[in-house]
């Protein structure tokens, strides 16, 4: 954290960072440059992002995420099994009944939990969209919901009971206030059930509420691509790409990419899905590879750029200066391709499968209902048998 704390005077403001500001950095226009200490480094937007709670608390490697889920699942399984044991001990069960319990009262696996969470996360999205909430509120609702179930198991808190809570808290957190009564009315719910788990939700979110979604970077890239590839892209076409990417992003928010990649990376991956050539070209012009490890084709592209108008030339130089140490188009593309593959991975859970998992979830928490069901069935069997005898 010290890097952010110790910097002051010169750091660039990401909100207003512009060509004019970049100009200041070139030695010819800035005498102040000379007075800077040798280890002087500006705080980059990446540095700022690394300090965000989204990065500090909710970004993982694949192994870390897996571990977290295994852990949450294991804790719930232990709890469920303890309850099942208590239930068996407390009731004098017949052999048939024991058999049913053994077959059906089984805690969910980590994969089943994940599938169920993702199934309901999709529901959160559909409901929030149905309530006509702004894109960012919908995105935050999904994010809250999925994060909640990294900390809690569906075997301990029913995902259904938290759906409206997450949407309602997302509204407030995104500064889109709706009173709980009108929210309840619109969502066909009631205030008690909406507010019941609000604290629990906030606590599970580790009080980290600020979400960075890929929609803002999408707008940024949309503008920057038109700037960098000025005269080479059609405005209407870019508009279409923008809309399609927005949909891709909304889909990606339902997957684990949000834990592995930064919002701009996810955006670039969505762009890559829509128009690979465009993105490759943009990135190579934006971050020309100075070491020259590029493929021959890409090299030509850069040469072409060098013959371009002086404006692009200047931009390019600045970019080289700014970014050559940190961003390499080839490396960046490799990361984005990985991200893209993950976005495109199908999420195949059908409603039937979801119902099956939900039922399993119910029975492992309510073994008595299994026993009762069995008793009812046996009674029915006997009564039909009796009927038959009478005939």
């Amino acid at each position: 954290m010290t890097d952010i704390q110790t910097d002051e005077k010169g750091a660039s403001n990401p909100a207003t960072s512009s060509a004019a500001e970049k100009e200041k950095e070139t030695p010819s226009t800035s005498p102040a440059e000379k007075n800077k200490p040798p280890n002087y480094k500006r705080i980059s937007d990446d540095d700022i992002y690394r300090h965000s709670s989204q990065y500090r608390m909710w970004s993982y490697t694949r192994e870390q995420l897996q571990e977290k889920r295994i852990d949450t699942n294991a804790r719930a399984v232990a709890y469920i099994e303890e309850n099942l044991l208590k239930f068996r001990e407390a009731h004098d069960l017949a052999e048939e009944e024991m058999k049913v319990l053994e077959a059906k009262a089984i805690p969910l696996t980590m994969e089943e939990e994940l599938n169920l969470v993702n199934f309901y996360a999709k529901k959160v999205q559909v409901i929030a969209q149905h309530l006509n909430l702004p894109t960012e509120v919908v995105a935050t609702s999904i994010s809250f919901f999925r994060r909640f179930f990294l900390e809690n198991s569906v075997m301990q808190i029913d995902p259904k009971s938290i759906v409206h809570t997450t949407i309602f808290l997302a509204c407030k957190s995104e500064n889109y206030f709706i009173s709980v009564d009108s929210f309840a009315q619109k969502a066909k719910s009631n205030r008690e059930s909406i507010l019941k788990f609000e604290f629990k939700l906030l606590e599970s979110l580790k009080f980290s509420l600020l979400n960075h979604h890929p929609y803002k970077p999408l707008h940024g890239f949309f503008l920057d691509i038109q700037n960098i590839l000025y005269g080479k892209v059609d405005l209407n076409y870019m508009g279409q790409i923008y809309d399609r990417c927005k949909k891709r992003i909304s889909g990606a928010l339902l997957s684990d990419v949000v834990y592995f990649y930064t919002p701009p990376q996810i955006t670039l991956a969505a762009l890559l899905i829509e128009d690979e050539a465009l993105v490759t070209r943009y990135l190579e012009m934006k971050f020309p590879n100075v070491e020259g490890i590029q493929e021959p084709e890409a090299k030509n592209m850069t040469k072409e750029a060098q013959n371009d108008t002086s404006k692009t030339e200047k931009d390019k130089k600045q970019n080289t200066k700014d970014e050559k140490s940190s961003i390499d188009a080839v490396k960046l593309l490799a990361v984005i391709r990985e991200c893209k593959d993950l976005i495109e991975e199908p999420n195949p859970l059908s409603t039937e499968d979801a119902k099956r998992i939900a039922a399993k979830n119910y029975y492992c928490q309510n073994p008595s209902s299994l026993v009762q069901k069995l008793k009812r069935k046996m009674n029915e069997d006997t009564s039909t048998a009796e009927k038959r005898q009478k005939i």
């Binding site: 207003t16 709980v180 909406i194 604290f199 009080f207």
Partner: protein, 302 residues
Amino acid sequence: MEYTKEKKVGEGTYAVVYLGSQHSTGRKIAVKEIKTSEFKDGLDMSAIREVKYLQEMQHPNVIELVDIFMAYDNLNLVLEFLPTDLEVVIKDKSILFTPADIKAWMLMTLRGVYHCHRNFILHRDLKPNNLLFSPDGQIKVADFGLARAIPSPHEILTSNVVTRWYRAPELLFGAKHYTSAIDIWSVGVIFAELMLRIPYLPGQNDVDQMEVTFRALGTPTDRDWPEVSSFMTYNKLQIYPPPSRDELRKRFIAASEYALNFMCGMLTMNPQKRLTAVQCLESDYFKELPPPSDPSTIKIRS
């Protein structure tokens, strides 16, 4: 319990503040207990904003959120202990401070404000009362109950923000769009107040605030702020000329020319022409003599 609440020091609309200490370290802390039961809409918006934005910021000039915990259905924010604030210091006439002290405070305030802005956060309630002092004299920007994300251009905002005396002209006009420039205006008014040691633009009510503001600094015109006259309330305004340099020199006797430039840069009517936090930090005012005082040596207790 990791934290003790020893003394109640304040009560606001949505929170009670206690002084206490952290058990494991003995560190003095303040606990802001959010009264959750009082709100029919669940967690209060101010509490949500405060939690949301403080979580994102770690900076020597922004109040530190040490921890958050729940107890008896109440939300408790554990904040660093900050014994006094700039309002108290300005009002306490037994405390003397020098231009170098003011410069140190402005520098710290602007570093904190800049840190908010580069995190895309608008504070929206900067005033002496919300600039707190740590025991070693560091200024800490505090109270994020009105903060919000820097809006995208199409978002419609409420102009009913910022305590009246520190409210930028675009807010007085009821603008539905505004930027981080509103925070800079507040800092400009605070700077003037530090030099005068009385509030610079003390409007009695919202209408009077416009009168006071424009009488002191001139009514903006379309020439320096294109289309300012299209604000609904503009027609009713008395048109005052902007103050001459000499008038400003007379009002701010101790201010250097650079200090006046710096103040006028922050108190520019047109928000687009107003200094940004970066421009403020890079201004000549901070480069000329005297250098800012060492914060820990400034006497802020009488």
